[in-house]
Symmetry: D2
Subunit: 379 residues, 4 copies
């Protein structure tokens, strides 16, 4: 925590019963770097107002729609400096555009948009805006993921050969009966991808972040196991990376017994690493020919990249919210650097609109490949 004032934050989406909105608010709050001061928290005006009241927002800054909010906040002396977008996917683009137009920084949930076209346009919007764009691929905020990335970059694994990424869940095993599930299985709001969009993009982003590999092509076999479901709920993907490495990615929302099983394993000519989101404080590392090592967050063996995003000592577990908060902490550093026109230190990293576009290309390639009987599709 620094002696600077908190960054004034607005929020679009995230009304009363939305899971991810609450997560963003806690993540923004943990380090005291942001203060939520305005919101258009629902597309339903009454719900927007009620949610604002529940959050203790100034009624004058609780808006019924995001356009009004963007205009009003841009016009205030004490207007928001950044906005968190936590709507269903199809609204990411129009909302982001509106705030970026006013030079307000955007912190946006993933995937980037619901269509590839929107994504491409948004990249241009960001490029021509004074506003920053931070995409909350939150899993890249975990200290042990930073550790893994640093080790790959340092060559501890040698040339990467094989990447295994997976992200099984089970909450859509039966036909959806709740709000969270509803829009995620609706192509109009979610986009072309079901599980590949909702969680596959996380796995894909994570493997790209850690390994630095560029995906050249993929072959995907998507399924909708639950009768009547319009989007995929399980996806099998083979990956080919520039330089010759190969990978597999599995995501599923119909795998009973898996809560939030994002896992990443990377193997190179000199060693391998393994990480499991449900035990995020641990990173396994095996140099070939030696015994396994357990590197712990905050413990012996953790390096600079991990330690700079670590809050508690080893054995005092950090979790999902802290990892998410690290994205907000990086965003705060980036926003303050921008505001003070100072260069951003190279160790500050966060998912960008370009990463978001890559994610959209991944979704589209998965869908296209699957439609062509799992033919290889370039990214």
């Amino acid at each position: 925590m620094s002696n600077k004032k908190p960054i004034r934050l607005g929020m679009v989406g995230g009304g009363n019963d939305a899971f991810i909105g609450a997560v963003h608010r806690i993540a923004a709050r943990i380090d005291g770097e942001f203060q939520l001061v305005a919101g258009a928290l629902s597309s339903t005006p009454e719900k927007a107002m009620a949610s604002g009241a529940a959050l203790g927002l100034d009624p004058a800054r609780t808006y019924e729609d995001f356009k009004t909010m963007a205009a009003a906040e841009a016009g205030r002396e004490d207007g928001i400096e950044a906005v968190a977008i936590v709507t269903p996917n199809h609204m990411h683009y129009p909302v982001a555009r509106e705030f970026l137009k006013h030079g307000i920084h955007v912190i946006c949930d993933k995937p980037l948009t619901s269509t590839l076209e929107d994504a491409k346009t948004l990249v241009k919007v960001v490029e021509s805006s004074d506003g920053l764009f931070i995409l909350t691929h939150n899993y890249t905020g975990y200290p042990m993921i930073r550790q893994a990335r640093e080790m790959v970059a340092n060559g501890d694994l040698g040339d990467i050969r094989v990447v295994q990424a997976e992200y099984p869940q089970d909450w859509l095993t039966e036909p959806e009966d709740n709000k969270q599930a509803e829009w995620r299985t609706d192509p109009a709001r979610s986009g072309a991808g079901g599980s590949v969009g909702d969680i596959g993009t996380h796995a894909f982003n994570l493997l790209s972040f850690v390994t630095g590999l560029q995906t050249e092509a993929l072959a995907a076999d998507l399924q909708s196991f639950v009768p009547g479901r319009a989007l995929d709920d399980n996806a099998h993907v083979m990956l080919r990376f520039a330089g010759g490495a190969r990978g597999m990615l599995w995501c599923s929302q119909v795998a009973p017994g898996n809560e939030n099983g994002l896992r990443l394993r990377v193997y190179g000519a000199k060693g391998g690493i393994e990480w499991d989101q449900e035990e995020p404080n641990k990173l396994w590392f095996t140099p070939f020919g030696e015994h396994k090592r357990l590197i712990t967050r905050g413990g012996n063996g953790a390096g600079e990249a991990a330690n700079r995003v670590t809050r508690t000592p080893g054995g005092h577990p950090e979790g999902y919210l802290e990892g998410f908060a690290n994205i907000y902490a990086e965003a705060a550093l980036a926003i303050r650097a921008k505001q003070t026109n100072t260069p951003l230190p190279p160790e500050v990293v966060f998912p960008t609109v370009q990463d978001g576009l890559t994610g959209m290309l991944f979704i589209q390639a998965c869908v296209n490949s699957s439609n062509e009987n799992a033919a290889w599709v370039s990214l």
Copy 2:
């Protein structure tokens, strides 16, 4: 988060490089229920002022000593409603007394005090004050600990027979060379117990909280393995509980490979449970004669007591800070109930000054027993 204004919080101790002060600040902030507005953050005046500035505190409310702070804040219209005490142990009592005198609620780190005498007096001070006293035995805030407690209370384990509690760490394996270690191994500031005070009390409080058992007597064998150390760094304790159950407690700060290994296992006539602080989202439960079950925080099998202190769905791990924040959340509920003169719902639970006194009795009994060659000592 409710639509009420955050509770105004002050802090005594917790200056720049103090671990636990930062933890308390995050815990207070996570749910937006508290706002830090004043502090006497160090016993060294310059450090106090510098720490306040670093935290962005109003210089007018950054105090050089806690007595000035208590008086000044008590006199302000917008003065603090609660104070967090995060000093070394020997200062808990005088600081708490000062704020309670002014009716300011106290949230105090453990152990309660550095002497049993102080502890007994503090109980009386609390009884005669309008202020609440909340002791941050933070591990009782973990959802799966609430679950365990509920299951014991529900009789899922049958009559409790055996309790195994342990809390190994390794950071004092070699002679101490840092500030955290320094005061913890100094009897004048820490009290009569070393590891039994610093972490043994946590383990003891946790087992008492979960099982509801009253400890009748204990036999303790305390050691100081590191040459020159004045206080115990390892303790073996046998416990006898009212009603006939028996237990063992081991705490150590010289057990290489253990970061923060608080673990609790409880066995009854009908079943057993097992919990490990380093994997806090999991609770193992075995009804006798059946297969093991893994109950997960936010997942299937978690009950009311756990769910009311849960922020994220299963598989999205919560950690140490969220567990700690649950104590602050309970404190907020208690403070607001007190302020509005409404009854506190029975499900709101937090460690009290009485629990703190019991912890001090535990420390004293351990020291006395060990001095008498591990004779049984009543609590």
Copy 3:
């Protein structure tokens, strides 16, 4: 152990420094159902004789080549009743044929042969022989695998949707420098598949055994990461099963940190199971919407199919050799049934020559698919 005399066993291959020969000998011995009495233990005559002596075989029954052995043993009153074939792959077929010709039962290591043609011929040879043919896909002998198979068959998982099989190892991460590695990476002795033949067939056999699913088609991406290696050392495979289920299979011998990581996960409409060969006494089972259950070998929750191949109580771990021995135990039951012309109880199961052929079709399909840029190939 029954009061019948041990079955007289011969062995071809398995000389002094061969890993798998020693495994077969222990597996044959554990239950006292077999006694090794003859052998042609190496293709090098001197080594064959020396190995026989080291094993305490009668010199008169230690042979320099398998043809002599087959003829001689067939002519003895006390000749071998069964032979274990533990040579490199390319010798499986000629050796098996020779002994089957004499009506001697064959227990043969996997994969079935080195060429698909040999495999097809061998099926016919077996059909026209009085000898039984048992293929040591030993992992199907693990009690918890029998448990998993029974649960799938019982419908505990509902209709199967997704199968995840993997088998990573790391011992071929660097260019091979030992005998075990040498023939496994030589197409003339190993066959068309490298890792897919050596371990991929195990994973494929295991998933087929547990789920009962028939594989309709696969798409495979095979790699040889180690420079100069003639066969694949890593394989990514997507599977499509009759009835609509889908699967992925990964095998690798270049994944540092993996010793023998055969793992199987099966998900259906009603539940999921997970098993890891390196912790073979545990089977995870989650009925959708309930908490995870840990079924243990010999423990509560294990059913008939597991218990009949279980030797020790829960918590007394069985391992690789016991699982392997279960194949020999089933073989003994089958041989005795054959000898006494009694029907084999349906619960006695072991991998057959047909399973071996399916494995060869799997290898060939993987190689063909990979050669066609991972096109779908029917099995």
Copy 4:
């Protein structure tokens, strides 16, 4: 396996439904070093004869009582060279004495005897006999236990400070209703100790074997939780070792969810190790200040002491029977050395009658201490 003939083995006890007899038979058989040729398998003559028939023993060498057997076998040219004693505890002494009198080597289950007096006498009987005496504290046969012992001896942990041993089970949680349970809870057949005799001695032997520490005194609190049970079913023990190290030992047969939870943790000034019998192929080792290392049986990091008792490569799990078989393998080496009058290499180690006496002293000390309100009792 060597080219020597198997050692001729007899067995006393271990009739049809006895768990431990079957274990001894498999353990004797795994390496082909022993052949069972005679037995007095039950104290009930008919059962003895039926059990012999079921095992395929020569009826002429199936005896109705052990005295007849000892005399008859001693008189045969091809008489047994060794006898395995697997009776209830109270028969260990008379049976061992009888065979030792004839110079027949004894492999005896633990604890040594049912009374301390018998134990002391047996030590003298062994000293004056030509027969060897091997006590099957089988857990010392696990390769990773040999590894741990070697590491302690090598000083990898520095001076040992703290030992934590535990052995929880749950099978006696309710009043006993089977044969296994029956004699174990009967003082006349089991001896003065219940759980301390049956499993506490295993834990105590294991910690002594690994650390080499001599126990000077202990304080024990024994309980019989199940109404009507004559012997302890749960025991809490504090230990003091020569040289200043301290320890705790917990054993229980009423801890639901524990199958066979023997665990050992040893901490020294330089590092710590942790081992769990239910995952016997893994040994955790942490040098202080470094990350945790996972040493695996057969894998990288395993040393000479482990490798010489290892049968399969890393990742191919060995289990309880292989560990047990290692005691038999050591016994075979010792018997052959004795028979050939050659010195036994120092790396061959097995529990001796002296270890058995120490175990009996441990049991007696536990009972005495508990009877004196957990006073310290010298061993």
